[in-house]
């Protein structure tokens, strides 16, 4: 499988179809991988794909967007690429998507498979230019059981829960930095005019940061779990990103990255939109 | 003119009492007279309905209570149906009757309260109306012992239209339940009226 992947990229680079290829390579131990950026057709041998390739390489597309790129994508990462294309961060012609079949990736800290891989319906990538390997999609659709369970709590319990979580937050912004759709040139969190966010690190300010970030990525977040995995203090951000996915689906029947022709939910409207709850 | 308006009565909440008990906005009446125009018994009333509404607005408590108007209301609801201000005038008339009976006014009318009392007593004790008892008791108490006996009453009996034996509950526990219910209602009613009058 790695061989096939390497050959495809080698060819793309050799034929000058792309300037850079973004893939995975082995890192410091057997359980670690890291992004690899390849410019030379003869340098492709280090590219690999295995169950520890947890990163969403879509993140790097916005950083390299002046070049023609090839990117190795798990099925789930492709949604990110499409979402970014929809947001005009680069054009489809400038990206070669190399889909890799994936049987689920593991969190090396726990050794367990990520929760999102359980009911994955894109183990066999869809919409890629090249596909390597074959995967078997899950029959069951994505479930939101944990979100539904959490929603049942009273608002007081919810607030207390998040306060506890965000007390841990050190505002390292890792979640933002690994988020493929957090590509704003100047994040609101850094602004001073107006100062949306106090620079103090305390539970309330941290919560404010996360609330605004979540609002900003609504309808764009593909629930790729990059932020959740990156968080050094284990804040369950997945509970938030999944909520976004659930709301987008339930309120506007929208799935990020699924359909290239549909505008993000907040960029459009329908005259027949629900009026319930409006006084 | 017969009356002089007592300005303090206007403020003293007779209108509010009637409004609260009937849940009708009497201040909304603008005296168009449509109720009086259509009332089939207005000819027999001391004051036509629209005038009663005005008198309630102005707090003319004694005149309203001593007039026969509400007692002559036959509850045909013609006024209610046609009122352009959406006031349920028939219900206001009911309320006035209820207030009159609960209060200590000299009723301009005793036939109807007597009839109602017997009527409801009959329901309390038998669950249904016992016509013969009803008519008999009513005639006795209203001092017209022979009213309607001849020829109509007699003919009714001949035609088998009137039962001699009252209906009874098949199940005695139902009877007890019924009497208990009436007791509870009376208690609640007292609370209701006193609460409003207080």
């Amino acid at each position: 499988m790695d061989k096939e992947l390497q050959e495809i990229i080698k060819k793309l680079l050799a034929e000058k179809k792309v300037d850079w290829a973004i893939g995975y390579e082995k890192a410091y131990d057997e359980l670690s991988t890291r992004p690899a950026f390849v410019q030379d057709a003869n340098d492709t041998a280090r590219l690999i794909f295995n169950k520890y390739c947890i990163n969403n390489l879509g993140l790097y597309l916005t950083k390299f967007k002046k070049n023609k790129l090839a990117v190795v994508c798990k099925g789930c990462d492709i949604a990110t690429v499409f979402e970014l294309i929809k947001e005009k961060q680069f054009s489809r012609e400038n990206v070669v998507v190399i889909g890799v079949a994936c049987e689920g990736v593991l969190d090396k800290k726990t050794g367990k498979q990520l929760e999102k891989c359980e009911n994955c319906r894109v183990k066999q990538p869809k919409g890629a230019d090249f596909t390597v390997g074959t995967g078997k999609d899950s029959a069951a659709p994505k479930n939101f059981l944990d979100v539904v369970e959490f929603e049942k709590k009273s608002s007081k319990e919810k607030a207390e829960f998040w306060n506890r979580q965000f007390e841990k937050c050190i505002r390292c912004y890792a979640c933002r930095n690994v988020c493929p759709v957090c590509y704003c040139p100047d994040c609101f969190a850094n602004r001073t005019m107006p100062e949306y966010l106090n620079k103090n690190v305390d539970a309330e300010e941290n919560k404010l940061f996360h609330m605004i970030r979540m609002q900003h990525v609504f309808g764009r977040c593909t629930d790729c779990k990059a932020c959740d995995t990156a968080c050094p203090v284990n804040i369950p951000l997945t509970l938030l990103t999944k909520k976004l996915a659930k709301d987008a689906k339930e309120l506007f029947n929208y799935e990020s990255g699924a359909d290239m022709d549909v505008l993000p939910p907040l960029s459009t409207y329908n005259e027949a939109d629900s009026e319930s709850d409006i006084l | 003119m017969k009356y002089e308006l007592q300005l303090k009565n206007i403020a003293e909440g007779f209108r509010k009492d009637v409004e609260n008990l009937s849940q009708q906005k009497i201040s909304n009446c603008y005296q168009c007279g449509k109720c009086s125009a259509g009332c089939p018994v207005a000819y027999a009333m001391d004051y036509p309905p629209s005038m009663i509404m005005r008198m309630v607005q102005l707090g003319m408590h004694d005149q309203v209570m001593s007039s026969n108007t509400s007692w002559y209301c036959v509850s045909c609801e013609t006024c209610t149906t046609r009122c352009p201000r959406e006031i349920d005038i028939a219900k206001v008339m009911d309320t006035l009757k209820i207030m009159a009976q609960a209060g200590s006014y000299k009723l301009s009318e005793n036939e109807i309260p007597i009839f109602d009392w017997i009527f409801l007593k009959s329901i309390e004790l038998t669950g249904k109306i016992y016509e013969l008892g009803l008519i008999g008791a009513y005639n006795l108490l209203s001092l017209h012992p022979l009213k309607d006996i001849y020829p109509m009453g007699l003919k009714m009996i001949i035609k088998g239209k009137i039962n001699f034996i009252p209906h009874l509950f098949y199940n005695p526990s139902e009877l007890i339940k019924n009497i208990r219910m009436f007791k509870l209602i009376r208690k609640k009613d007292r609370e209701r009226i006193y609460e409003k009058n207080a």
């Binding site: 607030a159 709301d247 005259e271 | -």
Partner: protein
């Protein structure tokens, strides 16, 4: 525990063309409503940046009301349609973070609905008070 009237703080965002004018109409009709609402004038509910609402709650507002033109009446044709999409999503998200649903409301109040505006504020006040008193 009964909270004091004074302690309840509601921020209202009213669109200039319908709801702000409607609130002016409330004044012309002398309809009394709770004084807890502090109104911020915005050109259109489409201008309503969700961040501002999050900031309002963050800063300690007990309730937020956003009010605009009825659908189809927007001065800018379609601004309120965009708001109508942001509102349910934002409400749901805020609720997820523990902002009770009784604290955040939206309404349509036209320039002639002075009475309705008073009713809306009373309703929002009652809901926020209910949240404050009963959790």
């Amino acid at each position: 525990m009964e909270s004091k009237v004074k302690e309840i703080n509601i921020v209202g965002f009213l669109c200039n063309w319908c709801s702000y004018a409607g609130a002016d109409m409330t004044g012309l009709g002398r309809n009394i409503y709770p004084s807890n609402i502090k109104v911020i004038r915005i050109p259109c509910t489409g201008r309503m940046d969700p961040m501002m609402i999050i900031e309002a709650f963050h800063n300690g507002a007990d309730g937020v009301l956003v009010s605009g033109c009825h659908p189809g009446d927007c001065h800018y044709t379609e601004g309120n349609f965009y708001w109508r999409r942001r509102y349910p999503h934002l409400k749901s998200l805020l609720e997820h973070f523990g902002v009770d649903r009784r604290r955040f409301h939206a309404s349509w109040v036209s320039a002639s609905e002075g009475k309705k505006f008073a009713e809306v504020v009373k309703k929002v006040y009652a809901e926020v008070k209910d949240w404050k008193d009963n959790g």
